[in-house]
Symmetry: C2
Subunit: 397 residues, 2 copies
């Protein structure tokens, strides 16, 4: 689970008392040794956490030094006091590493509508600053420090050769609930020691997010705090400048982000299946996205998957209300590679074989093909279980 830390980064997570469980880290600090590039993509929710407002104004940038993350409290819907608490948290993190406030970013995740416990945050930043490092303990504690209801830690890493040099890309993410596919719907930090300009980093991250974090869903509820950052320390001393190097780096970043993104609905609250949905044959990618989002958000589709039921009528009818024009007589569906519905008509197939194939695997694959064009998209989503409902209907205010 631990991953190599790219050159130029140090990090740590500590428990400072935001979460009641003293065994759980709730504050993470990620520091660069020198001015670095940072790019961000953020929630498109209109109701946003104070941290999102501040980070948006600061990225992309080329003099980044530190990001402080707390879990257990989103500092969202907290008005002016929330804004000033967020600024103070940023100032404390900057001060701790000898940077200016403009060089510091901040992420907060957890319950909405509560003020940050600033004394705990202050002591947490001090403790994390004393602990930052590059070993497995440092990395793992930092990953734990950004989690909330996650059941497992979410990390991914790749290395890629750029101009004869090895560049490392290592990322961490959190998220298991309030996950809807509309911009980066969780917290994620991607670290690389490649040397990037700020606009290049932004472009690379936006491309990767579009393929990964914007294609996942737990229950479709877009959060107030979603943030994905790409931090580039330049520690490897190499910049992907040629077309081929740019493409190689983009592909590496895409792979890391897709791997991380898939882990989120896999750990969706109560999930018993990861649904992978390919929508193909659409006129535009936006059409394919709208259909994929509608199908994967349908509670009837999700519960059919939970029940290992190839209930294709729910899938096809969900596509029908996505608001995208298509010819129903050209729709084809396969479930786990078995043809179920072809050109608008049911196909004879062995229900038990398909149901068994669903029961036997955590991953269920749906392919929904249209006859409107060449655009496609791949989406990943959780199913909907009794555990999700129990978890989220427990009194939690």
């Amino acid at each position: 689970m631990s991953q190599p830390v790219p050159k130029g980064f140090r990090l740590a997570g500590v428990h400072c008392g935001i979460k009641s469980n003293a065994a759980k880290e709730d504050l993470t600090l990620i520091v660069t040794d020198a001015d670095s590039v940072a790019a961000g993509v953020y929630t498109q929710n209109l109701v946003v956490a104070a941290s999102v407002v501040q980070n948006r104004a600061k990225t992309p940038c080329h003099d980044f030094r530190v990001v402080v993350v707390n879990s257990g409290n989103a500092n969202a819907c907290t008005g002016e006091r929330g804004d000033s608490d967020c600024r103070e948290m940023t100032r404390l993190a900057a001060e701790a590493v000898g940077a200016t406030e403009n060089q510091a970013l901040v992420m907060s995740t957890g319950i909405i509508g509560h003020f940050l416990p600033m004394e705990k945050i202050k002591s947490g930043i001090a403790a994390a600053t004393a602990k930052i490092g590059t070993d497995a303990d440092a990395f793992d504690s930092a990953v734990r420090g950004i989690t909330t209801t996650d059941k497992f830690l979410k990390t991914a890493s790749r290395s890629v050769e750029i101009a004869g040099q090895t560049v490392q890309v290592t990322a961490m993410a959190k998220g298991a609930g309030m996950i809807g596919p509309n911009m980066a719907t969780m917290l994620c930090v991607v670290m690389t020691d490649a040397k990037l300009t700020a606009p290049a980093a932004q472009e690379l991250l936006t491309h990767a997010a579009e393929l990964s974090f914007n294609c996942i869903s737990v229950e479709g509820h877009t959060s107030t705090s979603d943030t994905a950052l790409l931090l580039a320390s330049g520690g490897a001393g190499v910049t992907p400048t040629s077309e081929a190097d740019r493409a190689a780096f983009q592909q590496t970043l895409d792979e890391v982000c897709v791997e991380l993104a898939k882990l989120i609905p896999s750990d969706g609250e109560g999930a018993t299946h990861l649904i992978t949905l390919d929508v193909t044959g659409c006129a535009t990618r936006a059409d394919a996205r709208q259909i994929a989002k509608t199908v994967t958000e349908s509670p009837l589709v999700k519960t059919a998957i939970t029940g290992n039921d190839p209930n294709w009528g729910r899938i096809v009818s969900a596509a029908g209300y996505a608001g995208v024009a298509f010819d129903p007589a050209k729709v084809t569906l396969t479930i786990n590679n078995t043809l179920i519905y072809k050109a608008g008509m049911p196909v004879a197939y062995d229900e038990k074989v398909v149901s068994d194939s669903m029961r036997d695997s955590f991953e269920v694959h749906l392919l929904l093909a249209f006859g409107e064009g060449d655009a496609s998209i791949r989406f990943w989503a959780s199913d909907l279980t009794v555990e999700y409902v129990n978890f989220n209907s427990d009194y939690s205010t």
Copy 2:
């Protein structure tokens, strides 16, 4: 539960073997004594049942004589054979009452993707024709004949004075799952003995549906078969022509449709609460609708209500991703008339009192007020429970 049958109508429901349970009616016939007016509103799903295609082509009309309804099989996604089965079902119903095929409408509700058992349909139409009447038994059996997973029967009735005469409006509906607020999302038949022109009936029904059936949600999954019909026999011999009479009749129809519409999420699969959501202060009614739809479809909002949890962060953040522009600093929320969130800031309130008020009542009222204008909407939705998930994840193909 039985309601007065307006003049000019006879009806009955029978069991013909579509449902396995012999005690449950599965075919209903509603017949008018003479040529009548019929108007319809239908699902906006692109994937539709054969019945919807045929009815759309026939309404509004002024020579309606019979509608045949079967439950237990939606005859949707069944291709050309489904279309020809649907035409044959229409022809049989018309023949049974001495009408032409053009004078007959048809509705089918139940599982998607199975062919209609035509021999059973044929014998059912014959049996229902022999049984049609106007008494309580006739009415109640007809209502039972259109139900599927409904736990209770859904009817509503009003009378209204038009030009000194009494006009009756009586309606029945079915629906408990696959209910999403986008056109009439269930089956409904409204019978009246008022004398209406076909265009007037269509206008009246469209107006009523916009306030009622288009404002409800169980899980937001728009079905393939949604149909609401307004049948006007003219048996009372009076036409609402003056402005005042038109308004009185419209209001009566609206009340009947709203009363019926509310019963559907009240009987939503597994529902333990009916959520009534008022969205006010929007720039347009379309904006208010989009926010109401997004909030009532959020599984996190629904499960909070299930848990009697005034978890306002989920409600406010759901509004934020509805895709409607608003100023978050002008948002105010009350739950069961307690102010929870005012002008973008949390308000001190007694959580236990509000939670208890939710626990003590089947109905939970949310008021989400914006500062963008004067448009508003009222929506009704089910909560999301373990029973919903269990029910819909049972193997059912």
